[in-house]
């Protein structure tokens, strides 16, 4: 039985990664399990300069999920390189850095630095819904995605994954922008823009008014989008959106994802990612699947 994959040139021992923003830079979860068990770790969104993030409240509970508006708080790429990367390198797992910025130049500058580091790939964040500048503003149109991707491509030799927002009318077209811009893969979906109102105060719960919804609530939408993107592009897909167990992971892979990420599920149970790996192996055993890659995109439509 072989769970290992080659995802856009990144070797992973299994298709299970942890999603950006739900795993920090690994330290906290390393207290609960050996991070080397993971296929890969996608770091917290990292920018050129440190970012302080949004005002609190930044999170709240929603049906089968949560709403967040953290605002990309992070210590900046230089701090990451000095303090967090050496820690992550102690583990035998793929390290993919989620890169964010306010302007195209920001993306280029942070990727220039990332290209010099001992990491396995970059996930370009063109989809954070919680910052005023950059991110989703670039990620909402074919042209925007293609332009940022192609300009980053010129400075980045490492595998480049573009993370897409679901807050668009046609995600397949956006994915095409990433492919045409030279991306090696796409990841989807980032959070869905949402809002929760406190009816006593008659105000939104989040200080930023709106935030991104994640968790099992968004899973069917994410599965549909992964399928649509898989039909539109030939680069591999890192699928995510409410995955909390092996069954969910397999569903995304059948829809067309070559690898998957566990996001908010880490919060409910710190062991969600490693349980998912076990459950994928059980599915493979039960269905006599030799290579996990064999199931990618194998859904038969009615």
């Amino acid at each position: 039985m072989n769970t290992s994959i080659n995802f856009a040139g990144i070797k992973m021992k299994n298709p299970v990664t942890v999603a950006s923003g739900t795993f920090g830079y690994g330290r906290e979860y390393s207290k609960f399990f050996d991070l080397s068990k993971l296929g890969g770790i996608i770091t917290k969104g990292t920018s050129l300069k440190p970012k302080s993030g949004n005002k609190p409240p930044r999170v709240c509970e929603t049906p089968s999920g949560m709403l967040n508006s953290i605002g990309l708080q992070n210590p900046g790429v230089e701090y990451f390189a000095e303090n967090d990367l050496p820690f992550l390198k102690k583990f035998d797992t793929a390290i993919i850095v989620n890169a964010c910025g306010s302007t195209i130049d920001d993306y280029i500058d942070v990727c220039k630095i990332l290209d010099t580091l001992d990491i396995d790939g970059v996930e370009l964040n063109l989809s954070c819904p919680n910052v005023k500048e950059g991110c989703m503003a670039f990620g909402s149109s074919y042209q925007g995605v293609k332009e940022v991707t192609s300009r980053v491509r010129k400075v980045l030799n490492k595998p480049l994954i573009v993370k897409l927002t679901p807050n668009v009318s046609n995600i397949a077209e956006i994915a095409k922008g990433a492919e045409d811009g030279g991306a090696d893969a796409v990841s989807l979906i980032n959070t869905l823009l949402g809002m929760k109102i406190d009816i006593e105060k008659r105000r939104p719960v989040l200080a930023n008014n709106t935030g991104g919804i994640s968790g099992p609530a968004i899973r069917p939408l994410a599965v549909r989008m992964v399928y649509e993107v898989s039909q539109a592009v030939s680069i591999p897909i890192l699928g995510m959106g409410g995955i909390i167990n092996g069954e969910d992971a397999i569903e995304f892979m059948l829809a067309g994802a070559s690898a998957i990420s566990i996001g908010a599920g880490n919060f409910a149970n710190p062991y969600t990612s490693i349980n998912t790996i076990k459950e994928i192996e059980e599915y493979m055993k039960k269905h006599e699947i030799e290579n996990i890659s064999d199931i990618v995109g194998q859904v038969k439509m009615n």
Binding site: G21, T22, F23, G24, E28, Y29, K31, F32, K44, S52, G53, N54, K55, P56, P57, R58, V59, C60, E61, T62, P63, S64, G65, M66, N68, I70, Q73, V205, G215, P216, I244, A264, N266, F267, A268, N269, P270, Y271
Partner: protein
């Protein structure tokens, strides 16, 4: 080091119709727990509610390896948790929070609590009293019907003051007013507080005015409880409009030096 454990509920007790005390056998958590630490509790195996609930530790019994926590049945999550019965398992991550109550270097301490914010102050008072400190406790409640744990706090204090907003029990007024009055002829080395935000603001103001060190336990909506999601942000005192700076209640806290945070 926090642990994820499923522990047995060995005693369930209602303090009020909507206030429940759970005692759990949790040796792994108790051995490392400090006063001020909290727990992240998963109330269901399903996905509704999705996130864990942060609940502070009320009492540690280190000999037995048991701990107690008290919560108010208020929302969806605490309603489900309140349905657990003795013998059931409770899914807990803990102990959490690097910012805990510290009293080693002080002799005379004042503890100020309001409403359901009094719970994390019990273990602090108990340990301080056992260490031979002079412990004065000021607890404020809305009215007589809301008064909680009077006997318990009495046993871990040298002096206990109960106040109610409209005077239906104890002294009329706010706990902080009584402390302020006592400070006129009484030296206090450190003030500890937990309760509603307006109360904490007053406590902080008083402590700064009187130049007394002050440790406060804060609350904020949490995602993960372990320092990953960066949801439970609190502004630092150094923070400015141009250069905002945040710490996180679950990691740096929940107990902070009052002077270091902007509340």
């Amino acid at each position: 080091m926090p642990e994820v454990v499923k522990v047995t509920l060995i005693k369930k007790e209602y303090l009020k119709p909507d206030i429940v005390k759970f005692k759990v056998q949790a040796d792994e958590i108790v051995k490392d727990a400090k006063p001020g630490n909290f727990l992240e509790i998963r109330v269901t195996e399903t996905t509704v509610p999705f996130l864990r609930r942060p609940i502070s530790i009320y009492n540690l019994n280190r000999n037995e390896g048991t701990l107690e926590f008290i919560f108010q049945i208020k929302g969806e999550g605490t309603k489900l948790l309140g349905k657990k019965e003795e013998g059931d398992l409770v899914d807990i991550i803990g102990p959490l929070g690097m910012g805990t109550f510290k009293f080693d270097k002080y002799e005379k301490i004042a503890v100020v609590g309001g409403g359901i914010g009094v719970f994390p102050l019990y273990e602090l008072s108990k340990e301080a009293k056992e260490a031979g400190k002079d412990v004065s406790i000021y607890l404020g409640f809305r009215s007589k019907d809301y008064v909680l744990l009077e006997k318990e706090f009495e046993n871990v204090s040298n002096k206990l003051v109960i106040t109610t907003d409209e005077g239906s029990y104890g002294i009329k007024g706010f706990a902080i007013n009584k402390l302020e009055e006592d400070l006129k002829n009484r030296k206090i080395d450190c003030i500890y507080a937990c309760g509603p935000l307006p109360m904490l603001k007053e406590v902080k103001k008083l402590a700064i005015e009187k130049e007394i060190p002050c440790q406060i336990s804060l609350e904020e909506r949490m995602g993960c409880g372990i320092g990953v999601c960066l949801g439970c942000a609190v502004k630092t005192a150094k923070s400015s409009k141009e250069n905002p700076e945040y710490w996180h209640v679950c990691k740096g806290g929940p107990v902070f030096q009052a002077k270091d945070v902007d509340i």
